[in-house]
């Protein structure tokens, strides 16, 4: 019995110690922007070094469920709208890159060009995080938006990529 109690408490104590070390680890979840300067309005290129999974762009994006635009919209825009790609922000879970669609200086759409897709858990996180982030962006019209809880890294990557696109736009 004593051994059982020892094993249980030892395991829990060890886990808590281990996890609490990790929870203090990164102050800024997003590394300094990886990848070169985001290119002009139509290119969705992302540097290969930033990505552990092949970056996806354009129409080749495989179908990922979720109600937000994925892949570049540059080829499908009506007149008057222009696409601006953000830089690739590399997060610990993988790279994030977004594309702004603006009309007369106003953000009308945001598409996700690159997102972490290593595990289904990453996909799930993207599925609930990006729609929220996008709708916040459309409301705020800038990059000062709150991170989505449970998707800290993805949010930070999104904001960073968004900011770089806004910088380019102005």
């Amino acid at each position: 019995m004593r051994r059982v109690i020892l094993a249980v408490t030892g395991t829990i104590a060890g886990l808590v110690a281990l996890l609490s070390f990790k929870s203090h680890v990164p102050s800024s979840p997003v590394a300094a922007t990886a990848g070169g300067p985001g290119s002009g309005s139509s290119s969705a290129s992302s540097p290969s070094s930033a990505s552990t999974s092949p970056p996806r762009g354009g129409g080749q994006t495989e179908a990922v469920p979720g109600a937000f635009p994925q892949g570049s919209l540059a080829g499908t825009l009506p007149a008057g709208e222009t696409a601006v790609n953000g830089k690739v922000a590399s997060t610990s879970y993988g790279p994030v890159q977004i594309q702004l669609i603006e009309r007369s200086g106003k953000i009308v759409k945001v598409a996700v060009l690159v997102q972490p897709l290593n595990t289904l858990n990453d996909i799930q996180i993207g599925k609930f995080a990006f729609p929220k982030l996008i709708s916040e962006t459309l409301t705020a019209q800038d990059a000062k938006i709150d991170a989505v809880s449970g998707a800290t890294y993805t949010s930070a990557g999104y904001v960073q990529s968004l900011q770089s696109a806004l910088d380019k736009q102005h």
Partner: protein, 486 residues
């Protein structure tokens, strides 16, 4: 229980060998071969541990296991960017436990892979205990891993636990298989618990245990397909798979290939069966080049008698005399269906034998030795009684005169090597006190605290004897014992 040497396997009853050691006259009439002119001489020359045989110490094994566990933690640490929020904590804990489960099952299988250095160094009985203890721990971790991952993913995805469970089962690769594996492991853990074990036949329990291999196979692919530590890390996938593959090869080699090779090379077969005492029989086993097995007195084999009713299960029985070049002897007490069937074995029956196993073998010292046998636990001690170096005292506890096995042999060995035998027979009242009290032991064995002690008997007797020896001043590391528990 650190440095106490002991061993035993499932239901070991007894064992013996080819040269019925001390008295050639004890060869049963039923044994047709070998002819008397080839009968080995009584063997009382000291037998020491084979110098070339590797032995892993308890501390050595523990060091390896802990080092592996730290490496597993390192893998998690390396692959985890950070832990944030409730979902992160739960998922992180689930990942760590999951990695430990994957590592733990490998260790558990390795402990039971019949690796000779482990068998000789720690003994089958202690390996089985470690396996049982570790098994309970790993099964608990499996359950905790599943619950934490479901909960953690549900929190992260803002879903409820039920729908997240469904998502995990249906959308994540191989999680369904892993869930089946988890339930298998849980079921095996439950039937292995002491209370349930008593209600099961040994054979049933033994065969249920084979499902652990299925469970491990089913659980493997979800580790690589879903484990965050492996998905993006080719090196981690490689080493993790290499670990599984290594243990698989070891199991196949030592549990399948080596016994098959021994079967072909040594051609074990039944020579004859002799009743030693009511319900106690000796089986004489012949074979070729048995000396090449490097079996030591005090060790045992797992025997699978190839008859219509017995071929499907193997049982561990100690050699009950030092092994000879062409004959071995085991001695078995009627404890179950299997041992009853042994009494009806016909000469010429082929035997599939795995071994030798066990660490209850002669040490390196020339100190005096005291052997404490309880009931049919005499069998391995009978084997080392004839061959231990130094002065030997044998104390043999039996409940009645009729139950004493090998009396003639023991007396003959004692006379041949100038050893002492004390038979403690009957109830405590008849003996005049607790036969295994420190005072009784000291009075029977002068200079007891300077000696090595070997104990073999039923679990109650073994633990009482070990406690009494400790109280009488024998250091723990000099007490070698083996119990008859599974």
């Amino acid at each position: 229980m650190t440095s106490v040497a002991r061993r035993s396997g499932p239901a070991r009853h007894a064992g013996a060998q080819a040269s019925p050691g001390a008295s050639p006259g004890t060869r049963p009439a039923a044994v047709p071969r070998p002819d008397p002119s080839r009968r080995p001489q009584p063997r009382t020359a000291p037998v020491r541990r084979g110098p070339g045989l590797a032995r892993v110490s308890e501390r050595g094994l523990l060091t390896v296991i802990i080092a592996g566990a730290i490496a597993v933690l390192g893998l998690w640490w390396h692959s985890t960017p950070g832990v944030h929020g409730l979902g992160g904590w739960l998922t992180g804990a689930g990942q760590v436990l999951g990695l430990f489960c994957g590592y733990g099952v490998v260790i558990l299988v390795a402990l039971m892979a019949r690796l000779p250095p482990l068998e000789r160094g720690l003994g089958t009985d202690r390996l089985a205990r470690w396996h049982a203890m570790g098994g309970r721990y790993v099964v608990s971790l499996v359950v905790a891993h599943a619950l934490l991952i479901v909960w953690g993913y549900a929190v992260t995805a803002h879903a409820n636990v039920l729908s997240e469970s469904a998502t995990l089962l249906t959308q994540y690769p191989d999680v369904l298989m892993a869930t089946v594996a988890g339930f298998l492991l849980l079921g095996i853990g439950i039937v292995s618990m002491r209370a349930a074990r008593r209600r099961l036949r040994y054979e049933t329990w033994y065969f249920l245990h084979f499902y652990t291999y299925l469970a491990i196979a089913l659980a493997f692919s979800h580790q690589l397909a879903d484990g965050a530590a492996f998905v993006t890390d080719l090196a981690a996938r490689f080493w993790w798979s290499a670990m599984y593959l290594t243990v698989l090869v070891l199991v196949l080699w030592y549990r399948v290939a080596m016994p098959l090779r021994a079967f072909r090379r040594h051609r074990f077969e039944v020579l004859g069966v002799k009743e030693e005492a009511p319900g106690v029989i000796s089986v004489y086993i012949g074979g070729k080049r048995l000396d090449e097995l490097d079996a030591e007195p005090g060790q045992f084999f797992r025997w699978r008698f190839l008859t219509r009713s017995l071929w499907w299960s193997s049982h561990p029985f100690s050699l009950s005399a030092a092994p000879g070049a062409d004959m071995m002897r085991i001695t078995v007490k009627n404890l179950g269906d299997h041992s009853q069937a042994l009494a009806r074995l016909q000469p010429g029956t082929r035997i599939f034998a795995e071994g030798p196993y066990g660490a209850l073998t002669a040490g390196d010292s020339d100190r005096g030795v005291v052997l404490l046998a309880g009931g049919v636990g005499i069998t391995p001690l009978r084997a080392i009684f004839a061959t231990l170096p130094g002065h030997v005292t044998l104390i043999y506890r039996a409940s009645s005169e009729r139950d004493i096995v090998f009396r003639d042999e023991l007396d003959a060995i004692a006379a041949a090597r100038g050893a002492t035998v004390h038979y403690l027979v009957g109830s405590r009242a008849e003996i005049g006190g607790d036969p295994l009290s420190p005072r009784m032991l000291r009075s029977l064995v002068p200079g007891l605290d300077e000696q090595d002690a070997y104990v073999c008997g039923p679990p109650g007797m073994t633990s009482a004897a070990v406690a009494a020896l400790r109280a009488a001043g024998v250091p723990r590391r000099r007490i070698h014992f083996e119990s008859f528990e599974f």
